[in-house]
């Protein structure tokens, strides 16, 4: 997570940053973001106009800004809606029924599976 003290913003080139670190280019940037979430350092990308989005991303989807800085997701988001999935896709076959929720996490909303043994959401 970018330290927001001092230099307030830092251009993030998530795709290139993560291509080195991850094996699967389809999940570059995303895997790093997941790792950050698990480490308690979840972040969103925020443009100067305050639009939040999730990586990997080069351009703010709302306004087209290419200046995207990492800002922390809130630790305790608000559940805006949720569902209990009983008929899963094959990759979740062993998990059903499970809860998927959309959480307002500050700069952006996050969709994730809610586990009974953790306090927040898990994405993936």
């Amino acid at each position: 997570m970018t330290d927001r003290n001092g230099e307030a913003t830092e251009n993030v080139d998530a795709t290139e940053d993560d291509a080195d670190a991850e094996d699967d280019p389809r999940t570059a940037g995303y895997d790093e973001w997941l790792d950050a979430i698990e480490a308690g350092d979840g972040y969103a990308l925020v443009c100067p106009s305050g639009h939040g989005s999730l990586p990997p991303r080069r351009v703010c989807p709302e306004c087209g800004s290419t200046t995207l800085a990492r800002e922390p997701l809130s630790d305790a988001g608000t559940v805006e809606t949720f569902t209990v999935v009983h008929v899963p896709s094959p990759q979740f076959a062993d998990d059903a029924p499970y809860v998927t929720a959309v959480v307002d996490a500050g700069p952006t909303r996050v969709t994730g599976v809610v586990r009974s043994d953790d306090r927040g959401g898990r994405n993936g």
Partner: protein, 388 residues
Amino acid sequence: MTDVRVAGVGLTRFGSHPDRAGRDLFATAALRAFEDAGVAREDVEALNYGNFMGALAEHQGHQAPLMAEAAGVRCPATRYESACASAGVAVREAVRTVRAGDADVVLAGGMERMTNLPTDEVTEGLAIAADDLFEVRAGVTFPGAYALMARAYFEAYGGGARGPRARRREEPRERGSERVRPVPPGGVRRRGARRAAGRGAAAPLRRLSDHGRRERLVLVSEEYATAHDLDAPVAVTGVGQRTDRLALADRAHLARTPAADDAADAAYAAAGVEAADVDVAEVHDCFTIAEVLAVESLGLADRGEGIAAARDGLTTADGDLPVNLSGGLKAKGHPVGATGGSQIAELTRILRGDHPNSEHVADAEVGVAHNAGGTVASAVVHVLEVAE
């Protein structure tokens, strides 16, 4: 700018066709459309073909040339893919092509086979219309996504799962020679669905629907219709398409469908009509909550009132504004990449007066078709009017 007429429509039966390949079904629908239109196939200048998951369901990519030869037309053929809005987008592009004067005759429609796959593979196939990283990997399925929208709607406006679905239990509808059966309490049990009776794929939704079907339209310019003395009284007078963020969580509203709001505004403006002018509608009710959101986006019900529209009788067959006289997606089936075309085909027949349910709207002049892709990241709206 020329007027665009629907010269003819052709549909195959909704349902499971385990012994028929997509190319055969598509050819059947095309033959019916040509027969209905009275248009020579050699006059077709473009084929716009909608399909979403053919690469998964039939291991067949590049389907547009295949369907052109199946239909016996030799012309540029293109597949359009916008998830469940694929055929609606294909028709919209056909309308634009004719309107621009680039073609006088376009064959448009779609095909989807789904019931040949087991439930878990269909679930996975449909889910890829969502954001793979931030939704599918977070456990979102297609029913799950609409369940998220349903709960958000109930939170915002009240209501619950005992809303509009009551209509279909009470008012079975006719479609063709087949009677659309009322839905039993507890919902429809789908083959292979691993869930207890009365429990749906994703709470608070209660049942899952999928089917297979293909449909074709022949769209012609007004000039062509006149020159060939065609009986083509229904015109497509307005189209609108909008795109929203792919992931539901990134939308401006979880309990609304902004892309459909804007697509409807654009279609109404192009046609020079208002929501109050609409006599009959076909809307994309892949789930019951989707109809609620659709009638609100189309301006047929106020925000928060769509949940009661069917229950109050507004949108039932004998209401002031019948919605889905075709039966709707949940009653008749939802072959995803073909649905948008089937809506316009059925709406054409409803307005022409030769649909089995035309009697409910005998004087209807303005119809609207609402087709949505994914969780309405794609929306396309057509306004059809009886010309003259």
